[in-house]
């Protein structure tokens, strides 16, 4: 029956309401299972990539760099250095004799050409194997060029995306605390874990501006090296998406005593709650802030809610599958879909933790399928079985949905629509609505077959046959 599911993966799938919650996670992907996951390098690249005035040099053979060339939608208001793809493109002789010399020459060449404010050097799988001392080369080049040159230990095979996030945080932590913090307001934050996809961080910054909060550093969307260097001067870290930059927040708390708040900018409650939490944090220092925040939320909602209602009419009762990189995003999505009258029936992530999944199980409706580190066979099985109307995921999930004639909404790093904030909720609703109500679905074989089956039943009933 359940032939789509690998025996070894049975405990990575759970149906809420069926037995006590227990979900295995944070495991190595199963060989041969076509996991949707990437690698450590991928995690680091995601987090650090949006720092726009840094040089991002991928040390390894060409693939790792070429596949990550400008694939993310992280926008910059200034320099665009992050959108280029730099590689040492290791060749056979480098693999045999070591790539350190080539790395050094490449760094010097690129730093001279682009004059970046810092350089990140990503170690990929092969560098871990041939044993290049990336740290030593970085120190050497930093000394010659006078800019921070930071190794990112992101050898792909040393785990999954999560380890990549950690490597990225470690790399950034070497910048934090090195800049001048003079003149920073006592009511100030760093925005962590937002990548400015489609300009989202600009929406959030505008909210903070209206609340009277100074943003010291964007970490990392539209990020700048100098801002990160002085980020320890901020009074608070607001951390979105627990997966990626939580570790940096924790390290900053330990070293600099900077407190942090976990936030989410997706959906109505989460957006409002996040702003209120920040206001609450600063209410002693700035008594007016709570009221300003309330005004902001009220204004935004007055504009948003009537529009949402219109979309909801058509979307009520439709079923959604959510499969995303980090589990944290899934929470907000579940709530956002409730506003649209839609029901999440499958939810999963590539890298959720035990706690993430427990929390997910708690907020999901009974019968929801929860999966960790899934693959096309499982996902397509559930899309059919649960008769999903819409799938939310990334590029690799899109053809799975589309092949089965199911609407799709891109909610990963490659999206070109801003989905955060109140305006993002509206964009999201618009996109979901546009897809879910398109007339094209009636031509899809599965829907045609269902329509036909329905018609037969109706006809049979009309003829007074069985089933009455």
């Amino acid at each position: 029956m359940e032939e789509a599911i690998f025996e070894e993966r049975r405990d990575q799938i759970h149906r809420t309401g069926e037995g006590p919650f227990a979900l295995a996670c944070n495991r190595d992907s199963l060989a041969g299972a076509v996991s949707q996951r990437a690698c450590v390098f991928c995690g680091s690249r995601v987090v650090l990539y949006p720092i726009a005035d840094a040089l991002h040099l991928v040390h390894g053979p060409i693939g790792c760099a070429v596949y990550t060339w400008d694939i993310r939608g992280a926008l910059s208001s200034g320099p665009q250095l992050h959108r280029l793809s730099f590689s040492t493109d290791l060749q056979e002789k480098d693999v045999i004799f070591g790539g350190e010399k080539k790395l050094k020459a490449a760094l010097l060449e690129l730093i001279a050409r682009y004059k970046p404010n810092a350089a990140f050097v990503y170690a990929t799988c092969i560098v871990g194997i041939i044993g290049d001392d990336v740290g030593a080369v970085c120190r050497d080049v930093a000394a010659t060029t006078g800019i921070p040159v930071i190794p990112v230990q992101s050898e792909g095979f040393k785990g999954n995306k999560r380890e990549g996030y950690a490597a990225a945080c470690k790399a950034m932590f070497r910048l934090a605390g090195t800049g001048d913090t003079a003149g920073i307001s006592p009511v100030s934050v760093n925005i962590l874990g937002d990548f400015n996809l489609a300009g989202e961080i600009w929406i959030i910054r505008e909210y903070f501006r209206r609340m009277g909060v100074e943003v010291v550093a964007n970490i990392t969307g539209d990020g700048r090296v100098a801002d990160i260097q002085r980020c320890h001067g901020a009074a608070l870290n607001v951390v979105q998406c627990s997966g990626s930059t939580m570790e940096l927040a924790q390290m900053m708390q330990e070293r600099f005593g900077t407190p942090f708040l976990r936030v989410s900018y997706l959906g109505i409650e989460d957006m409002a709650d996040s702003l209120y939490a920040v206001a609450d944090h600063f209410k002693d220092r700035d008594p007016g802030i709570v009221e300003r925040t309330q005004d902001l939320v009220r204004e935004e909602l007055a504009n948003l809610l009537p529009k949402l209602k219109q979309y909801r009419k058509d979307l009520e009762g439709k079923k959604v599958a959510v499969y995303v990189g980090g589990a944290f995003k899934a929470f907000s999505l579940i709530k956002a879909f409730r506003h649209l009258g839609m029901k999440v029936v499958l939810v999963g992530s590539q890298t959720g933790t035990k706690e993430d999944y427990e929390e997910l199980a708690a907020i999901c409706d009974p019968g929801t399928v929860i999966v960790d580190d899934s693959n096309p066979l499982e996902l397509s099985k559930y899309v059919k079985e649960l008769d999903v109307d819409l799938f939310v995921g990334g590029v690799k999930e899109r053809p799975i949905a589309h092949k089965l004639g199911v609407g799709f909404c891109d909610h990963n790093h490659e999206r070109k629509e801003a989905l955060e904030g109140f305006v993002g909720m509206l964009n999201f609703a618009k996109e979901v609505h546009a897809s879910a109500t398109s007339p094209i679905w009636r031509f899809v074989p599965r829907r045609e077959a269902m329509a036909k089956a329905n018609a037969t039943t109706v006809a049979r009933r009309a003829a007074g046959g069985e089933g009455l």
Binding site: F6, P61, I62, V383, I400
Partner: protein, 451 residues
Amino acid sequence: MSDSPYVSTTNACKLCTPLGAALAFRGVEGAIPFLHGSQGCATYMRRYIISHFREPMDIASSALGEKQAVFGGGPNLKKGILNVMSKYGATVVGVASTCLTETIGDDVPRLLAEFRKEFADLPLPEIVSVSTPSYSGTHMEGWHAATAALASQLVREKLPAERRINLLPGFVSPADLRYFKEILADYGVSATVLPDISETMDRPALLDYEKLPAGGTKLADIRAMSAALGTIACGRAEHTAESAGANLERRFGVKNIRVGIPIGIRETDAFFDALEELSGSPMPEKYASERGKLVDAYVDGHKYLAGKRAIVYGEEDMVIAMVAFLAEIGVKPILAATGAKCRNFKQALAEVTADLLPEPPEAREGVDFHDIAEQASELAPDLLVGHSKGYRYAKDMGVPLVRVGFPIHDRFGGQRLLHVGYRGTQALFDLLVNTILERKQEDSAVGYGYL
């Protein structure tokens, strides 16, 4: 050696070797591509391929972790193959190595021999393996090496001669492959097109998710390659490894005819000549008519294109073919660039432009987009011809980009783009003329409605 003066690579004009192999394996019926390496490579390649074809692309991986990277990936490789057998029901598994497994020294053929022995009691799929480290080669080496591996490992004996032709089409689009098959059918010959992604990478909407997309070269047709009248191998670039065509010729005496990717009249004529030679049949009227109409279009459109200067870049076979085409329609290819290196790039460009151009275009190998752009600024081109990755440069230069080849992920329908034969050339010719007309219109203050 590379023609780039730089040590570093900025915006590469090539992809890595296993990607080409994975795509080639996808062109065999019932096959699943399997990368022996860590998980990331397979996932990245899937993502990349999906954005062009907008089709599912399941690539299995042995998903090596730290332990396996130290102690060897054998156990994961075996387990992975068992898993794709049981869940995908693959009848062919195409194993491509990666940089990682090549470097840690996994001996894949030996591991597979062990595997076959260990699990001899199971109904085992055909397992084809190919060595594809990206530190020596590009996706095109991967494509050709996988094709050669399919021919050398699956064609095992000389079968009795048949009226059959082998076609090694090179890395062309599904639309191109469908056209190739139509031509072969019109010649009345049986054919093996290897690999054939015409259906597997361009599927209809279906009731169910196909674990293994239908289509692809049938195993029986691969085996029958030894029975063929001959092989037509498209693509003029020569790589060091023995090609599939050369392998079949050496082992089974199947005549191997190398032609370019048939784009443009001269290269397409050569392709049809080869077909005529092997099949003994003349060109069907249908194609003579397509050719005649194409010549007519050349005549009607030549003035719009006369003297236009183009930069062509991308994978080597496609660049050579596009240069051959541009030269014969009066567009001047001023730079032909590729991220790859092959033994005869410059020579092939000289051959296809001989007696059309006073001198062949400048040819550069092993370059990236930084190199290309640097040179382009002095060359003042009128247009760029290549895949999507050149878009930003074209935008900066203020010239149009004519998209051909792979990847095309900033436009819709890359898999339906027809390049080859008289019909494909016609489509490209129309596209080129219209691109020039559109630019003329945009640049004109008057905005002529008749051009």
